[in-house]
Symmetry: C2
Subunit: 191 residues, 2 copies
């Protein structure tokens, strides 16, 4: 009757669950180890570093993006952007985990791939996907950090311009405006 033993996937399962319950700042290797009933050093048999663990977590978050979008243009690009954002919003601090993983060139790159596909085969697709992803990550990061601030007793709440979570409403408008610019005569990325 050996005590708790785990594989990579099992560790990531628990990491995702812990992330959602306590947030990224409290997702430490030591706390994760405690959650698994194991010594902290045991985690380094499964992963070379915390960063590598977080990359695996990021991939799981992005795995929630559906890979086929039934919609046709021009709504397909918006639907793709929304599906990426929705995946990030599914777990607490999901945007931050995915952003740092993406920046380091780790992880699957699934978010970008879905956006490239949704934008079609045009020459602007790659660059357009990069721009969209930068906006999606920036937007969602702000939304999720705002959530984190509200729960920890928001100090100076006057800086937050308008009532209710109206930042969320800027998402569709932002994506739509960018897409309109892509198609406008004065617009396009490679002019």
């Amino acid at each position: 009757m050996s005590p708790t033993r785990h594989d990579r996937d099992g560790v990531v399962d628990t990491a995702l669950d812990l992330l959602d319950r306590v947030g990224l700042p409290d997702l430490s290797m030591r706390r994760l180890a405690t959650e698994l009933g194991v010594q902290p050093s045991a985690l380094y048999w499964h992963f070379d570093s915390k960063q590598e663990l977080l990359a695996a977590v990021a991939d799981r978050i992005l795995a929630r993006i559906p890979d086929t979008l039934a919609t046709v243009e021009p709504e397909r690009a918006l639907a793709a952007a929304q599906s990426v954002r929705d995946a990030l919003l599914t777990y607490r601090d999901g945007a931050e985990v995915v952003m740092s993983t993406h920046a380091l060139g780790l992880g699957s790159g699934r978010a970008r791939d879905v956006l490239v596909t949704a934008l079609g085969a045009g020459p602007d697709a790659e660059e357009g996907a990069d721009v969209l992803l930068q906006f999606i990550l920036g937007h969602t990061l702000l939304v999720q950090q705002r959530l984190h601030a509200q729960s920890h007793g928001a100090a100076a709440d006057q800086g937050t311009q308008d009532p209710s979570g109206s930042i969320e409403n800027t998402f569709d408008a932002g994506i739509r405006t960018f897409l309109a610019g892509l198609r406008s005569p004065a617009g396009g990325l490679t002019q």
Copy 2:
């Protein structure tokens, strides 16, 4: 002959300098204290928390944005976006410091103010500034974390799609495309 004594501004001076030399992950209260020739606890006479210190650092970074832009539309909005990005790029990890400060509703909000002004007095100005700021922060965060990865011996460099720093090139194109969408018949934020 009393040993080193400081005021708030002097501490922020050193914090900015240290940030630029070692990056945000290594900007600890303890290291900053050592740099100042002082005990860590001394910093808590000047600031209630590390977060408050970082808010003061963020304000100094944003103070580099010129408050009057001589340019007229339609180039004024682009110039404003560039001036915000340039301020963030002036210090290592500037985008991350400003993003977390902005998300918590701390700091001056100067970046957003400049963008609102540059977009004119229209009803879309506030919402447009929010969208622009989300893109600018997302873009610059990615650029700066990429820089940080390169210096620390980039592990999996295949994930980084194209050679040279071509992400930087997406900035102007992204801003221009969004602005074109704002003015296009199919575009505008409040449709």
